[in-house]
C-alpha cells in the first residue's frame, strides 16, 4: 500500500476566480442595457411605421372595439352634458389646427371616475367624476384640449403599436429562465415605454396650453385638475422613472409658469361652467 497516497489538492481549480458581485453587476448591467436598447429600437420602428396607418383605418378599428362607456344609456341631463362637451371639443379642436380628416368625437360617461381619456379613432371620453372636480370651463377645457392634442399627434395608435410590438418581442423570451427573470425583463422593457408615455403627456400639455390661450386669451385655471390630483393622492407617487405621467408637481409648475408668462393686463375672469354640468353629488341643490 506504499504506492497509494492522497496528496492534498490545491483550492480554486473548480471554481471561477471572479467575485460574485462583480459577475452579478456585469450581468445585470449588460442584460438590462441590452433589453432597453432593443426595446427602444423596436419602439422607434413601431412608432414610425404605425403612423402610416390612415386615420380612417384607425376609426374603423375603434368602432370594432366594444367599450362599456359607449353603450351607457343617457338620461336627458346626460345628453345635455354630452352636447356641451362636444361643443367645447369642437371649439378647442378648431383652435388646434387639426387635419381635415381627423374628427373628434367626445363621449360623456356618468361614471364617477376622475379621469378623461383619448383612444383610437378620435374618440375621447370625459367622466362625470372629473367634471365634478373642476370649477371653471377653463380647467375643463385644459383637460379636453390635452386629450385632443393626444389625438392630433396620434398618440393612441402609436402607443398601441409600440406596446404590441414590444410585448410580442419580449414574449419570445418567455421560455427562458425562471419567473424572476421574466419579471426583470418585463420591467426593463417597460422603462423606455414609460419614457415615451411621459414624453407624449408633456407634448399634449404644451399643445393644450396653446389652445387655451387661443380660445380664452389666457391660461388661467389650467392647473386646477392637476392640483386636485396632487391633493387627493394618499400614497406617495412612484418615482418619475417608473411612472407613465410626468411628476404631478413638476407639471403644475410648468403650467403655472406658462400662465404667468401669458398674463394679460386686463385678464378676463375664468369662465364658469353651466349649471347642468355638475352632478347631483357635488352641490346640495337639485339640478333643474
Amino acid at each position: 500500500m506504499s504506492a497509494y497516497e492522497n496528496p492534498q489538492i490545491p483550492e480554486g481549480i473548480n471554481v471561477s476566480p471572479t467575485h460574485p458581485l462583480k459577475d452579478f453587476a456585469l450581468l445585470l448591467g449588460g442584460v438590462s442595457a441590452l433589453i432597453v436598447v432593443a426595446v427602444l429600437a423596436l419602439s422607434f420602428a413601431a412608432g414610425y411605421l404605425v403612423r402610416f396607418v390612415p386615420f380612417e383605418q384607425e376609426r374603423a378599428l375603434a368602432s370594432s372595439i366594444d367599450a362599456d362607456w359607449l353603450k351607457q344609456s343617457h338620461s336627458a341631463d346626460d345628453k345635455r352634458r354630452e352636447q356641451y362637451l362636444q361643443a367645447l371639443g369642437r371649439q378647442l379642436a378648431a383652435a388646434m389646427d387639426l387635419p381635415a380628416e381627423m374628427q373628434i368625437t367626445v363621449h360623456y360617461s356618468s361614471d364617477d371616475t376622475v379621469n378623461a381619456m383619448a383612444t383610437l379613432g378620435g374618440n375621447i371620453v370625459v367622466f362625470q367624476g372629473l367634471i365634478d372636480t373642476v370649477d371653471s370651463e377653463n380647467a375643463l377645457a385644459m383637460v379636453l384640449a390635452h386629450e385632443i392634442a393626444h389625438v392630433r399627434h396620434r398618440h393612441p395608435i402609436v402607443a398601441m403599436g409600440r406596446g404590441f410590438t414590444v410585448m410580442l418581442a419580449l414574449s419570445a423570451l418567455s421560455g427562458v429562465g425562471d419567473g424572476m427573470i421574466q419579471q426583470w425583463v418585463g420591467s426593463m422593457g417597460m422603462l423606455p415605454m414609460l419614457a415615451f408615455s411621459r414624453e407624449q403627456e408633456e407634448a399634449a400639455d404644451a399643445d393644450a396650453l396653446q389652445a387655451l390661450l387661443r380660445v380664452y386669451g389666457h391660461a388661467g385655471g389650467a392647473a386646477t385638475f392637476f392640483e386636485h390630483v396632487a391633493e387627493q393622492s394618499a400614497l406617495p407617487e412612484p418615482p418619475a422613472l417608473l411612472n407613465t405621467h410626468p411628476d404631478t408637481d413638476a407639471r403644475i409648475a410648468r403650467i403655472r409658469d406658462f400662465e404667468q408668462a401669458h398674463i394679460r393686463p386686463d385678464e378676463l375672469a375664468l369662465k364658469p361652467l353651466p349649471d347642468f354640468v355638475k352632478s347631483d353629488k357635488t352641490d346640495g341643490t337639485d339640478p333643474d
Partner: protein
C-alpha cells in the same frame, strides 16, 4: 496527460496511485439557442446549440480534472467517469472524476 476509462494504462506500469481528482463546470447557452430549441420542438432534429454546450462543458471539466492531477504530480488519470445533470434553468453541469496515477 494520459486519460483512460479503464483500470490501467495499457502498456505502462503504475508507479504511484494518487487518489481522486475531479473537474466540474456549469455552463449555460444563451437565449437565442433556447428559442431555436423551442422551434426544434416543433420540427425535430439535432439541437446543435445544446450539443455544443455539452461538448464545451465536457472539455472544460476534463481540463480542470487534468489541472488537479498535474497539481499533485500525476501524469495519468484512469477510471474516468462523467456525470451530468441540470442544476439551473437552461444550464448543464458536467462533472468528470477519476484516479490520478504516476505511470512509466
Amino acid at each position: 496527460m494520459i486519460i483512460t476509462n479503464i483500470e490501467t494504462v495499457p502498456g505502462k506500469t503504475i508507479v504511484k496511485h494518487l487518489g481522486m481528482v475531479s473537474g466540474n463546470t456549469v455552463r449555460s447557452k444563451h437565449a437565442g439557442r433556447d428559442i431555436m430549441a423551442g422551434l426544434k420542438n416543433i420540427f425535430g432534429g439535432e439541437l446543435k446549440g445544446y450539443t455544443e454546450l455539452l461538448t464545451e462543458s465536457r472539455e472544460e471539466a476534463v481540463a480542470r480534472m487534468v489541472k488537479q492531477a498535474e497539481a499533485i504530480g500525476a501524469n495519468a488519470v484512469v477510471n474516468v467517469r462523467f456525470s451530468t445533470s441540470s442544476v439551473a434553468a437552461g444550464a448543464a453541469e458536467l462533472f468528470a472524476y477519476g484516479t490520478a496515477l504516476v505511470v512509466e
